[in-house]
Amino acid sequence: MAPESIYAHVNLRRNYRRRKILNTVMLSLTGVTVALAVLPLVWITVYVLLKGGRYLNLALFIHLPAPMGTPGGGVLHAIEGSLVMVLLASLLAIPVALLAAFYLLARPNTAVAQAVRFSTDMLAGIPSIVVGLFGYAVIVVTQKHYSAFAGGVVLAIIMLPVVLRSAEEMLKLVPPEMREGALALGAPEWRAALRVVLPAAMEGIVTGVMLGIARAVGETAPLLFTALGNDHYEIGQIVRQGLHYHQSMGQILGQIFGQPADALPLTLWKYAQQPYQERVQLAWAVAFVLMLFALGLNIAARAWLAYRRRKLYG
């Protein structure tokens, strides 16, 4: 009864041999490409470690730069400037991005949502130097001076699409049944979003936020037009002076955000091209600090996520 078996037309042994050869070839190929993909990271890390680690010392973190051509000094101005501007950028961008992501989740197909999605994608594609130019025209020109504030705002504009789109993707991964479960208990939408959907998506959202922060920390170009750079930016000094002259809290904050400021990548860029040995060494040290910062941020977030996962899932 049986019709002819397909194995009358199949040479299993030949297939096997061919498969084994192909498998070896492809496996070696993927091995090589994986090595190629990892190589730049390892290379850069080791290189910066060797070049910059050498000049790492405490002074780097607590002193302002020494005058050109003299040894010593640090990059406290850039560390503080970076912190101030990234903090401002995060405060501006993250809440907006997360709330907008929740809106996109709850009303995914409205015209507004389509517009938001389209424009954030466009925004993500704008070269950062153009964003900087925009900050210059809108903030620096109207205020008639460069400032940490202007730098923070342009960094926020750069962070926004990164955080928004990754948060939206992560929120979409949460099973809709979870949100519906909360809604079916009579929870208002904002509560379901905040108490159920957000914690479920936390892991991915934190990763997205970190990507955004890393992006902001590393940006140089937009700060050229906005924060400008300031070798004497020191928050401690601003605060001491403010207290001396009996300024209010608001005035002191105004000083911190109102002055031109420096940032780590900006300093790196400037110092690396100066003709003084000490400055170039400082630039290498800054590169090292930048990498430490990125690494530290990553490790901290992962540690927190691991702790949270243990608590959630036992």
Binding site: P3, S5, I6, Y7, H9, V10, N11, L12, R14, N15
Partner: protein, 274 residues
């Protein structure tokens, strides 16, 4: 609560007559990292018979099923101890070709998973993997497989339509056609009807009865009545205190359902737990 007596094998055959042993699960334990999901299961799978795995959720039925064609290899951290013999040969022995094992032991999944291509290409997929390129052979085997899966009449007008455009029950039969096209010796089915409506379920159950003439079938089912209706042998698994699944009882389906040896089996099939 009154439990309806379960209807036994519709064909009303006497308890399965003796048949060759196709596969043997011998002392199999499965670990996911440190968690033991299955402990020490011994079980035969008879040729041209339907063997059903039943038991409460989480008892490791699917895990055990997936040891039979080494699908657990795909899960990081999963580890299998013990032996699984296919025609007397341990499929976990060093030097075994896992690709060939999966060709010989096919699988149909819980959710129909047609590939994003035409009905024809879905069925021809495995054949092309085997190096068959000749149009006449492909045509013939595709038709034969679709007929065997009771799908031919529904799709013969347009074999170029997308497999994903079919109804759920038809998609599952397409997956069965796809599996049998490469003429496996054993077909594993992981709750193949749980995502289907009752009529589609009935069609597939009928189909299994004809398929077992040519194939050995192992089926995981959530549904005791289904096991009783369609299977020749039943393995009842349960979960221990340490959440590891173990085999409580194995036997001809009729015996297991009418005269269980273990109290736990009786409790389960009469609906007192699970």
């Amino acid at each position: 609560m009154t439990q309806q007596p379960v209807a036994l094998n519709r064909t009303d055959k006497p308890a399965a007559v003796a048949s060759a042993t196709k596969m043997v699960i011998r002392g199999v334990s499965v670990y996911y990292k440190t968690f033991r999901a299955i402990k020490n299961v011994d079980l035969p799978v008879y040729e041209n018979r339907i063997t059903a795995f039943i038991g409460p959720s989480g008892c490791g039925k699917s895990t055990l099923l997936r040891t039979l064609n080494r699908m657990n290899d795909l899960i990081p951290g999963a580890r299998v101890e013990g032996k699984v013999l296919l025609d007397g040969e341990d499929i976990y022995a060093a030097g075994q070709d896992v690709v060939d094992i999966r060709r010989r032991v096919g699988m149909v999944f819980q959710r129909p998973n047609p590939f994003p291509m035409s009905v024809y290409d879905n069925v021809a997929f495995g054949l092309r993997l085997l190096g068959i390129r000749q149009k006449s052979i492909l045509d013939e085997v595709v038709e034969r497989s679709l007929r065997a899966a009771a799908l031919w009449e529904h799709v013969c007008d347009n074999l170029n339509q997308s497999g994903m455009a079919l109804s759920g029950g038809q998609q599952q039969r397409l997956c069965i056609a796809r599996a049998i096209a490469v003429e496996p010796e054993v077909i594993l089915m992981d709750e193949p009807t749980s995502a289907l409506d009752p009529i589609a379920t009935l069609t597939i159950e009928d189909l299994l009865q004809t398929l077992k003439e040519n194939f050995t079938i192992v089926i995981v089912t959530h549904n005791m009545q289904q096991a009783a209706r369609i299977s020749d042998y039943t393995a009842f698994l349960s979960m221990d205190d340490d959440r590891a699944g173990y085999l409580v009882e194995f036997g001809p389906t009729v015996e297991l359902f009418t005269n269980p040896k273990e109290k736990l089996t009786e409790d389960y099939i009469t609906g007192r737990f699970g």
